[in-house]
């Protein structure tokens, strides 16, 4: 039982930047924790904020969303729309008393393999620090 707590994290990565950044981190053999489980999405603008809430409800310990830097979005503006949605969602979750560090957002480009690894470490560390999650969790075991 004294095995270290390992948070289960879902990472929504945009196909064109952050996913490619993760790929580069891999081929460059940069080490990073295995906690973030990647879901590849076409663009950060594809992330319906309901995906984030649903992930929490279904039991993930944290959610990480990463897309292209402003100006780099493959569809030009997807990440600008996403930025507005995430800003409001994050503030609202904190308003209801939900830990802010469980939903994290970043921009990582296809050439930033090292940065991807760093962010993965940071995301994992922040969520790990909060410990197992209780709030908003749907208990399907009963």
């Amino acid at each position: 039982m004294d095995k270290e707590y390992e948070p289960n994290i879902i990472a929504f990565l945009c196909n064109w930047c952050s996913y490619a950044g993760a790929d580069l981190a891999g081929v460059s053999r940069f080490q990073y924790p295995a906690n973030p489980k990647v879901v590849r999405v076409p663009c950060s603008g594809r992330i319906n904020p309901m995906f984030i809430v649903k992930s929490l409800y279904e039991g993930l310990d944290g959610v990480w969303v990463s897309g292209c830097h402003p100006g780099d979005c493959h569809y030009n503006t997807g990440n600008y729309y996403a930025r507005r949605r995430f800003a409001l969602l994050k503030n609202m979750l904190s308003h209801i008393g939900f830990e802010e560090d469980r939903t994290l957002f970043s921009w990582v480009s296809a050439s930033e393999g090292n940065i991807f690894a760093d962010k993965a470490k940071e995301v994992t560390a922040r969520i790990k620090k909060l410990g197992p999650r209780k709030k908003l969790l749907k208990n399907r075991d009963i």
Binding site: M50, K54, R83, L88, G97, N139
Partner: protein, 298 residues
């Protein structure tokens, strides 16, 4: 004052029905219980005497506008209801030409429950500010922002901090906020009256009703209730006009405006957007600025 308004409403409703400017007028008639008024739909000019106006006309009648797609509609609105019309126009849900707006400068609607508790069935002549609904206490647009006919002199608008309640709430600790949310959400019976009362909840299929994808279990476990509250409020981001109709419709007296008002405050602070003012302006989540703040990023 109120009598004059009623007289003007009836006269104008009669005129627009007789002259066939509209097919139907949506307004209020006398309620069957103390401190109430009920929505009424009038098609015959001879029926306009049913129309009333008092401090209990709290429903947001804009919610009915989309029910009559083939008709020209006359509607009686307060400040907040007129903002719903603007918000719906901004979302291309209404055509201005099909609506004739009779605007009433509003003095605020009175909270039925507070009055019943204080005075029983004998309504007082003079009532104090504290008997207003919360949404009316904070209201910044008592005068309709859009209308074809105004039934009286504009009333004085407030110019104080528009979100004192949100500012105050944000001073609480994380745990206190969570506790409050738990307490409020746990009372919910998922009747969806809040959704039905809101002019902006016009989805053909609400996320709580879809099976594929299934966003949410149908039960009343606390997380189910909380997720319902979170998403319903979030769906109002950049769209809610603070009318308070949702909260007043709730049979469990659950506080829900504290969620949407937080979003409204953020929309104003972050994107400098006030909802329901300009029908030509794209709603804030339908657009962006290159310079939107992104300090929240890691």
């Amino acid at each position: 004052m109120a009598d004059k308004i009623v007289e003007n409403i009836r006269k104008e409703a009669k005129r627009i029905l007789e002259e066939k400017i509209v097919d139907i007028v949506i307004g209020f008639e006398k309620g069957t219980l103390p401190y109430t008024a009920s929505p009424v739909f009038i098609e015959n000019p001879d029926d306009v005497d049913k129309l009333i106006w008092n401090r209990y006309c709290h429903n947001n009648l804009a919610v009915y506008l989309r029910n009559f797609p083939d008709k020209k509609i006359g509607i009686i609105v307060k400040g907040c209801d007129s903002r719903s019309i603007v918000a719906l126009m901004a979302e291309k849900q209404l055509t201005r030409e099909n609506i004739y707006i009779i605007g009433v400068p509003c003095e605020g609607m009175l909270d039925k429950n507070k009055l019943l508790e204080e005075f029983g069935d004998n309504p007082p002549i003079e009532v104090k500010e504290e008997f207003l609904y919360p949404s009316c206490q904070y209201c910044e647009h008592k005068n309709p922002v859009i209308y074809d006919f105004l039934t009286g002199e504009p009333v004085q608008e407030k110019e104080e901090e528009p979100y004192p309640d949100v500012v105050e709430f944000e001073k609480k600790t994380l745990d206190e906020r969570w506790k409050y949310f738990q307490e409020e959400a746990s009372k919910c019976i998922r009747c969806y009256a809040c959704r039905q009362a809101c002019p902006m909840c016009y989805c053909e299929e609400c996320f709580v009703d879809t099976n594929s994808p299934k966003w949410l279990d149908p039960g009343i476990d606390l997380p189910d209730l909380q997720v319902w509250h979170i998403i319903r409020a979030y769906h109002q981001a950049g769209r809610c006009v603070d009318c308070g109709a949702c909260e007043r419709a709730c049979p469990m007296d659950i506080k829900i405006l504290w969620l949407t008002r937080k979003l409204n405050k953020d929309v104003r602070d972050l994107f400098e957007f006030e909802i329901g003012i300009d029908p030509e302006k794209v709603p804030p989540l339908g657009t962006f600025s290159l310079y939107d703040k992104e300090e929240f990023l890691i």
